[in-house]
């Protein structure tokens, strides 16, 4: 849609008469950038404490942030038409690398997730977190919305194929996240409520026979442990008991920066990665948690606003999907550390230490900025 709007002759709009700001010329969404900078700063402060006051860890993470911001900046420079045009090729290439992982992949603990080329290693499933919603959005944007039944089916195939390949690796968490990012596009595209309720009903209806007849006892046991980690006190439950103690003992004000007994005495496992929110909660208290959640909410709000003011359906759907995926990260991580949700390896966005997931996340924000700044170049 944006195409035809853009092709219309300029009609002396006031918007165009105004000189574009530096930020918009650089395709940067200032409010979003500002929020991200605060969040990453907050994250580094917590990380210093969580890593056992290891300044090296902070420097390392700072370097990741630097790379991630550069990637975000670069991702913001590409126009949406270009993303839409390239999406199918990205998608085909992505699926090919996922297939290559099956044959040439390397990994640990029985899961093959990485491709090694020379000394360089990368995880194709990570890239698919962006490519899948892009491909689904690109496919739907070229058709009438809300999508028709046959288009919904095709979209499901587009998102299902890579999800299935990743499930095979096996990496249930990432497969679900990728499937969700595609489904969010469908949701934002306005897929009928009857499909949504129908699918929900089908899932519930098939869960029962699968549980009764298809799953082996040990598989059931694994699912039960996942749903109720505290039943496995020496394994997954141990982490949860410790993280709940850390969070709960933080109270309203917290024990103070670098003074969390649980975190500083090494009771907390993975305190600087997936469980970092427990350190924050212990040392900064509920105040600190609410501050973080407020910042996240502002990012989400900005994401929704960018989506609603986007000019093309492709941009809209991308913005919606990226925003909702970001929310899923926040929700799943904070929920699992607090013992509300199963323990799946999902980092706390912008705060957990680690590079790979961060770069993908920031590339996503780059695309969001591309959506946000595109509207300023066209006439309403």
């Amino acid at each position: 849609m944006a195409d035809y709007v853009r092709q219309m002759p300029n009609q002396g709009s006031a918007d165009l008469a105004r000189r574009p700001s530096t930020a918009s010329r650089l395709h940067i969404d200032l409010p979003l950038l500002f929020l991200l900078l605060i969040l990453t700063g907050y994250g580094l402060v917590v990380l210093y404490s969580a890593s056992g006051q290891d300044f090296g860890a902070v420097i390392r993470q700072g370097r990741y942030f630097l790379v991630a911001y550069v990637v975000m900046f670069l991702a913001a420079q590409l126009s949406l038409q270009r993303y839409a045009r390239w999406a199918p090729w990205f998608y085909v290439a992505g699926v090919c690398t996922l297939v290559a992982v099956i044959f040439f992949g390397v990994g640990a603990k029985g899961a093959q997730r990485w491709l090694q080329i020379g000394g360089f290693r990368f995880q194709p499933s990570e890239i698919m977190k962006l490519v899948v919603p892009m491909a689904v959005a690109c496919f739907l944007a070229e058709r009438t919305l809300p999508p028709r039944f046959q288009h919904v089916i095709v979209a499901l195939v587009i998102l299902g194929l890579p999800a299935a390949l990743i499930l095979r690796q096996p990496d249930l968490g990432t497969a679900l996240l990728i499937a969700a990012s595609g489904l969010f596009v469908l949701f934002m595209a306005g897929i009928g409520w009857r499909y949504i309720f129908g699918a929900a009903l089908a899932v519930v209806a098939s869960a029962w026979p699968a549980w009764m007849f298809m799953l082996q006892d040990y598989q059931k046991q694994r699912i039960l442990t996942l749903l109720n980690p505290e039943s496995d006190k020496l394994g997954a439950g141990w982490n949860i008991i410790q993280s709940k103690t850390a969070i709960g003992s933080g109270g309203w004000t917290g024990k103070g920066w670098l003074s969390g007994t649980q975190s500083q005495l090494d009771f907390l496992p993975e305190s600087h990665t997936d469980f970092i929110i427990a350190v924050l909660a212990e040392e900064f208290g509920l105040r600190g948690v609410l501050t973080l959640m407020f910042l996240y909410s502002l990012v989400l709000w900005r994401g929704f606003v960018i989506g609603m003011s986007a000019q093309s359906s492709f941009g809209r759907m991308m913005a919606g999907s990226l925003t909702l995926t970001f929310f899923v990260y926040v929700f799943v991580n904070m929920g699992m550390v607090a013992g509300l949700l199963p323990v799946v390896g999902v980092p706390l966005p912008l705060v957990s230490a680690g590079g790979t997931a961060l770069v993908t996340l920031m590339a996503g924000f780059g695309v969001l900025m591309a959506v946000s700044t595109e509207k300023r170049m066209v006439v309403r």
């Binding site: 009438t144 394994g235 997954a236 709960g248 933080g250 649980q262 909660a281 509920l286 809209r316």
Partner: protein
């Protein structure tokens, strides 16, 4: 416009998107609300509980490792048990200066560098406040010295632990295997919570194959401790489930008889009960003391075992692949009968050699060197087995062709793993045209069929496979997957039944008769065994060449280097009326089957009569 742009309604799309956005925002708010409520609940409502818990930090979860299951032989003789042993461990969090503590401990007891290095590795994988073992098997004197000085070293603890012990270590080294300390790779593979507090895992043999069964399930207890980490009281306790006690089909008496009969020689004996598929003996010599491995073998002991020319760590019974030689002949006879190419009455002329049609190369019969002629002008199946006539089987093999030979011999279990319940089993080789194409990328030559028909050439079998094939004959075609395991916690576990090898009863009779004649006939190749025998025994001798012998050259045993002498093989079953034991035996470089056959007599005597008075003619 080529695009169906007319169908698109931008305003409607924007409207839909906005309504979806609001729905999404509403859902997001609800879910964020749930998270806030949860953190509020933990940090405000339950604050006191968690605050106390974290303040005193006095409640500690301790794993209670399960007791490893015991292993018995079929008579109830204990083959693997657990003995209390004292371990010196360190709780890292309670030690101020680890290096100083280690140095001080080094003054009190002897610590070698390897021990300290392994301790540091374990330290990296520990849970907070977990006692990490440093030194195992403290002697009483060491314990006394430690007791005097320990008050000066907080975080140093002496714990009683159960350690695996093998009362008959060397006798069952290859049958049972051993446990050893969990290494890094294993630590990644095992269920982390179930192995909390467990430092040993099955490494080979029964101990590894039945690891899940023997290990049991971990328990835990919540203990209250004082500021020094000393346990004040147990708050709650969930007992571990001990591992299952297992009874093996092995019989210590015949296992010992086989080891003693093999003596200093390298070789293997496998005995199977053809009625049940139970493995009665599994011997590979030389063995080694499995107790050495339980707490990490010293590098000196290990290199001695690894570098010995006798390769004691190699389990010849299941890993050793040898040319079966003439022991293949009873199975070949059955193949001939089944294919219809021969009958029990069918005869072959025997000049002492065989040539392929249109080829001058002479495939010699072993008897030619001794008598200068064949076994008899015409040889039938019975004589061919009893006197181990090569010419008969050259002719049969050539007519059968290699691929049909493969198909008829495969049901005896040759050329594939038997799937016995132990580790490191090798499949042997039962050659076929396809096998040679796939593994060597070469065509099959007719002369190779001739070698294969007397168990030479590419054909390879493990002693276990020979015993299994013999058991199939003894049971007249009933086939089992051989099993070491007989019962779990007293509950019998039968060996899995396989599809039987169906053949006419008179065929089995013919093979039986030939093998009986081997031991009992006047010209049988193992007639020395019949001396003073109190039961009917059937068998078949075999010799496997270690080095090739050129056409026309003569093999003289005394002139050949010991390592290049022929391997001696023997298969046997007894009693013939209702067989209860089937054997596969190899003596490496024994010179010939005469080295192997007396072992069968001693083992079967022990099994059937309880003892053996048989004197090896070679010893006399």
């Amino acid at each position: 416009m080529p695009h169906p742009i007319a169908l698109k309604d931008p305003h409607r799309e924007t409207r839909i998107y906005q309504s979806r956005s609001f729905t999404a925002i509403a859902i997001v708010l609800v879910l964020l609300g749930i998270i806030v409520a949860r953190y509020y609940n933990l940090q405000i409502t339950e604050y006191e509980t968690y605050r106390t818990q974290s303040d005193s930090n006095r409640v500690r979860l301790e794993p209670l490792p399960p007791k490893r299951g015991l292993i018995y032989d079929r008579n109830g003789v204990l083959l693997a048990d657990n003995r209390p042993s004292f371990t010196l461990s360190i709780i890292r969090e309670r030690v101020r200066d680890l290096d100083a503590t280690l140095a001080e401990l080094g003054q009190i007891i002897e610590l070698d560098d390897g021990e300290v290095e392994k301790f540091r590795e374990r330290l990296l994988r520990r849970r907070p406040y977990e006692a990490v073992p440093l030194h195992f098997r403290l002697s009483a004197a060491e314990r006394a010295r430690l007791a005097v000085d320990r008050y000066r070293m907080p975080g140093v603890v002496v714990e009683a632990q159960l350690l695996r012990h093998y009362p008959h270590g060397e006798l069952f080294s290859h049958a049972i295997g051993y446990v050893g300390r969990i290494n890094e790779r294993e630590a990644e593979e095992v269920d982390e919570s179930n192995y909390r507090g467990t430092f040993h895992i099955g490494k080979v043999g029964i101990e590894k194959h039945y690891e899940d069964l023997l290990h049991g399930k971990v328990g835990y207890q919540n203990v209250e401790t004082d500021a020094h980490g000393r346990v004040l009281r147990v708050l709650e306790r969930f007992d571990p489930t001990p591992g299952a006690n297992i009874t093996l089909n092995l019989d210590i008496n015949i296992q010992r008889a086989a080891v003693e009969a093999l003596g200093e020689r390298r070789g293997a004996v496998v005995a199977i009960d053809p009625r049940s598929g139970g493995v009665l003996a599994l011997v590979s010599t030389p063995g080694f003391d499995t107790n050495l491995f339980v707490n990490g073998i010293s590098s000196k002991d290990y290199s001695a075992l690894r570098d010995s020319p006798d390769v004691p760590l190699f389990n010849r019974a299941v890993q050793g692949q040898y040319p079966p030689g003439s022991t293949i002949k009873p199975m070949m006879g059955m193949a001939g009968l089944q294919s219809g190419l021969i009958t029990p009455e069918y005869t072959v002329p025997d000049p002492g050699w065989y040539s392929l049609p249109g080829d001058s190369h002479r495939y010699r019969d072993w008897i030619l060197r001794i008598r200068g002629t064949g076994h008899a002008p015409r040889v039938d199946l019975n004589m061919a087995i009893a006197e181990s006539c090569d010419t008969y089987f050259y002719d049969l093999g050539h007519r059968l062709t290699i691929d049909r030979m493969h198909d008829y011999l495969a049901p005896f279990g040759l050329g594939q793993r038997t799937d016995i319940d132990t580790t490191n089993e090798r499949p042997g080789v039962l050659p076929s045209k396809r096998w040679k194409r796939e593994s060597l990328n070469q065509p099959w030559y007719p002369g190779e069929t001739v070698s294969a028909s007397i168990g030479q050439g590419y054909m390879l079998a493990t002693p276990l496979q020979l015993a299994e094939a013999t058991a199939v004959i003894a049971s007249r075609g009933v086939r089992h997957t051989p099993r070491l395991l007989g019962a779990i916690n007293g509950e019998p576990v039968p060996a899995p039944l396989l599809d039987p090898l169906v053949a006419k009863p008179e065929y089995w009779d013919a093979i039986y008769a030939g093998m009986l004649e081997v031991v009992n006939g006047t010209r049988g190749t193992a007639k020395a065994l019949a001396k003073g025998i109190q039961y009917q025994m059937a068998g078949k001798t075999g010799t496997a060449q270690v080095i090739g012998i050129a056409q026309g050259a003569v093999y003289k045993e005394d002139e050949v280097d010991e390592r290049h002498r022929h391997h001696g093989l023997f298969i046997a079953f007894a009693p013939v009326e209702a067989p209860t034991i089937a054997l596969g035996i190899i003596v490496e470089n024994g010179g010939g089957s005469g080295a192997a056959s007396p072992i069968a007599r001693k083992v079967i005597d022990t099994w059937l009569l309880g003892h053996s008075d048989f004197e090896d003619p070679a010893d006399g």
